[in-house]
Amino acid sequence: MSAPAGIGEPEPPPDDHTLLGLREMELNFGPQHPSTHGVLRIILKVDGERIVSARPEIGYLHRGTEKLFETETYPMVIPHTDRLDYVAAATNNHAYCLTVEKMLGLEVPKKAQYIRVLLDEMQRISSHLLWLATAGIDLGAMTPFFYTFREREVILDLFEEYCGARLTLHCMRIGGLLEDLTPGWIQKVRDFTVPFEARIDEYEDLLTENRIWKLRTIGVGVLNAARCVEMGVTGPPLRAAGLAWDVRRAIPYEVYPELDFEIPVGKNADTYDRYLVRMAELRQSRRIVLQCCDWLEKNPEGPIRGKTPRVIKPPVGEAYAAVEAPKGELGFYLVSNGTNKPYRLHVRPPSFINLQALPEMAKGHLVSDLVAVIGTIDIVLGEVDR
């Protein structure tokens, strides 16, 4: 199968030979490879084990979601957004609801905003835990997988108690939320979150100072801030490059301006810094969750859904809204023609855009580093292919 030229990498001329006069070996990496995080296919040109070029081939999970959006009414789109980044459904719901609310000019009640932020941050913790699990197992560290899944399971249980689903939450509605918190839920969140700090320390004990982990990650997959900006890379890869860009602070939404948290920033833009940034984000998310818990305990009463029309028909126009998803800036761009269905709904998926940097990050490294690079971008193929 002849693939189109890669994104960052021009096709090498046909008479391109290595030193010994030998051609590079072409290695098909995926889509059924154990560490491509789903169905990513990468066509590698390797010289021995050194990567000459890496070309991602995407589309194995393409479901035509964006086209499907156009056939659904506005509330019916929400369950489909669950399935974009299926390990972080809450942020997907959130981004979409924000876009439609912006279009309608809806006011979301304060309590709903706090619950949304709480759900977002819990989702960020669970997504980062999943990332740590898979990135660890990519580099051969198999045990963090089980430890993080133990904690992630608690978060999923909490989601199940709140909204009835563990993964594809469908927990937000346009104008607010569907359901109020169950009694005692806040306390359960607190029971999980407070000792969670010690659990993060445990993961760090296993990996952060470990010499093998450091050897495998330091200096691997460097993508500096300038290139990040040029490619539109957001999220932890951008922050690890030293640029403190976080949608939660840069384009504040919901109640984030009222919350006290910091944006962790790395220096070296390599895999190790991205790891550190994500670990620091786990701690920051924990802080936000606890602040939300405090607020919600002080203000248990209040509406959870604003004045939402029975049939949602945004005026003719366009709107873009974004949230800071665990993987980066997740945005929805909505074009409305005044009917009850979106005329066009485009997703700006962080995984897809971050994946563009893969050829540049992987070039010159060994095949072993490629798995580290794929792991560090933190892709979810549901979001890449849509």
């Binding site: 154990p34 084990e49 660890g136 990519d138 403190a244 095949v367 072993s368």
Partner: protein, 394 residues
């Protein structure tokens, strides 16, 4: 019927011993898989296989039966003969090595119809036992390289090549570590090495602390185990050299790997931990420990090493290929050479010299660990991380 002593000693007993050892080893590899899976599960707060038999103890039987009856898939363009031969080349040397491993001291027992038999709990006591082990274990690598090449698969090829480079690099520090033991014991026979440890009143691990460390590290690397499991790195090369193998051929690789693990543990036990000797073999106050036969001591020591293997697997990430080479050539080999010189000097002083070296090494190591752990808190290390929180204003 009268059996002549020469027939008995030269033919019958070796055959029986060889049969027993080969079969015991094959079964032991199976049992080890279930031990590994369960222990790994406990390290990872899960339960592991616990359905077949008592607490999953018969899982390995079920697995073996499954593997025996599984379809044997051979890629169409594979080199069929070599593809077939490779697993055999892995297993046969791995099992051959057990011929010289001394499981226990000489035993005397009565066999009805033949009479008293006195024989060692080992197939043979070669006077060049150590050399034999080093030579035979390195044959196994051919199996892996050929498997990688004959599969006609790129992943398998990469795995085979990695394995070749790795094995060659780590034979060297392993050889140096073994030589330092030979210097201490002045013999190549494994039985004689154990006897030397009894005579000198000390396990060789104490003067040979560094040598043991080097030996075990190289051993882990030679058996392709975590953190050096590059040839079969699951997340990189799918399954490395045995990607294209299935059924009983695949299980031969598995058998070979576990047999090699037992070999490395057994040799480490013999060379550094006194083989079948009980702890402190010359302290009379502990003589009640002699009630436990030597073979049990030996197996117990091996088992501890196996647990360490599993513990490593549960803890560490995997090295990268070039980093592995760096570690081998730039760190382990120089260390091994230095160690060899130190031991050679100490060995000049005979038993006394070795004992002094043991005190210096172990005391120094313990002291250094205490000092460093006391003076440094983990909190401080964490505060020095490069991630600095920065506020950004909208």
């Amino acid at each position: 019927m009268e059996i002549s002593p020469s027939l008995l000693n030269n033919v019958l007993i070796p055959i029986v011993k060889a049969l027993v050892i080969v079969n015991v080893m094959a079964v032991m590899s199976g049992v080890l898989t279930i031990i590994e899976r369960r222990s790994l599960a406990f390290l990872q707060v899960r339960k592991g296989p616990n359905r077949v038999g008592w607490e999953g103890s018969l899982q390995w039987v079920a697995d073996t039966v499954k593997l025996l009856f599984k379809e044997d898939v051979v890629p169409e363009k594979a080199e069929h003969l070599i593809h077939y031969l490779a697993p055999v080349l892995v297993v046969v040397p791995a099992l051959t090595v057990f011929a010289v491993i001394p499981w226990g001291p000489e035993m005397t027992f009565r066999v009805p119809g033949i009479g008293k038999i006195t024989t060692g709990a080992y197939a043979t006591d070669l006077n060049v036992g150590l050399l034999f082990i080093l030579a035979v274990t390195s044959i196994g690598i051919y199996g892996i390289i050929l498997a990688g090449w004959a599969s006609n698969s790129k992943y398998a090829l990469l795995g085979g090549l990695r394995s070749a480079a790795q094995l060659i690099s780590y034979e060297v520090p392993m050889g140096f570590a073994v030589v330092s033991v030979i210097l201490m014991s002045r013999s190549l026979s494994l039985v004689e090495i154990i006897e030397a440890q009894r005579r000198m009143h000390l396990w060789f691990v104490f003067p040979g602390l560094l040598a043991f460390f080097l030996y075990f590290l190289s051993g882990v690397a030679e058996t392709n185990r975590v953190p050096f499991d590059l040839p079969e790195a699951e997340s990189e090369l799918v399954a490395g050299f045995h990607t294209e193998y299935s059924g009983i051929k695949w299980s031969f690789f598995f058998l070979g790997e576990y047999a090699n693990m037992v070999t490395v543990s057994a040799i480490a036990t013999t060379l550094f931990f006194g083989g079948w000797l009980r702890p402190f073999p010359n302290v009379a106050a502990l003589s009640f420990l002699d009630l436990i036969p030597g073979i049990v001591w030996f197996l117990a020591k091996i088992f501890v090493f196996m647990l360490v293997y599993i513990w490593f697997r549960g803890t560490f990430p995997r090295y990268r290929f070039d980093q592995l080479m760096d570690l081998g050539w730039k760190t382990l080999i120089p260390l091994a050479l230095v160690n060899l010189v130190v031991i050679a000097i100490a060995a000049l002083g005979g038993t006394r010299g070795l004992q002094i070296l043991a005190w210096i090494l172990c005391g120094g190591f313990a002291l250094a660990v205490v000092v460093v752990t006391r003076t440094r808190s983990r909190k401080a290390a964490r505060a020095a991380r490069p991630v600095t929180p920065v506020e950004v204003r909208a």
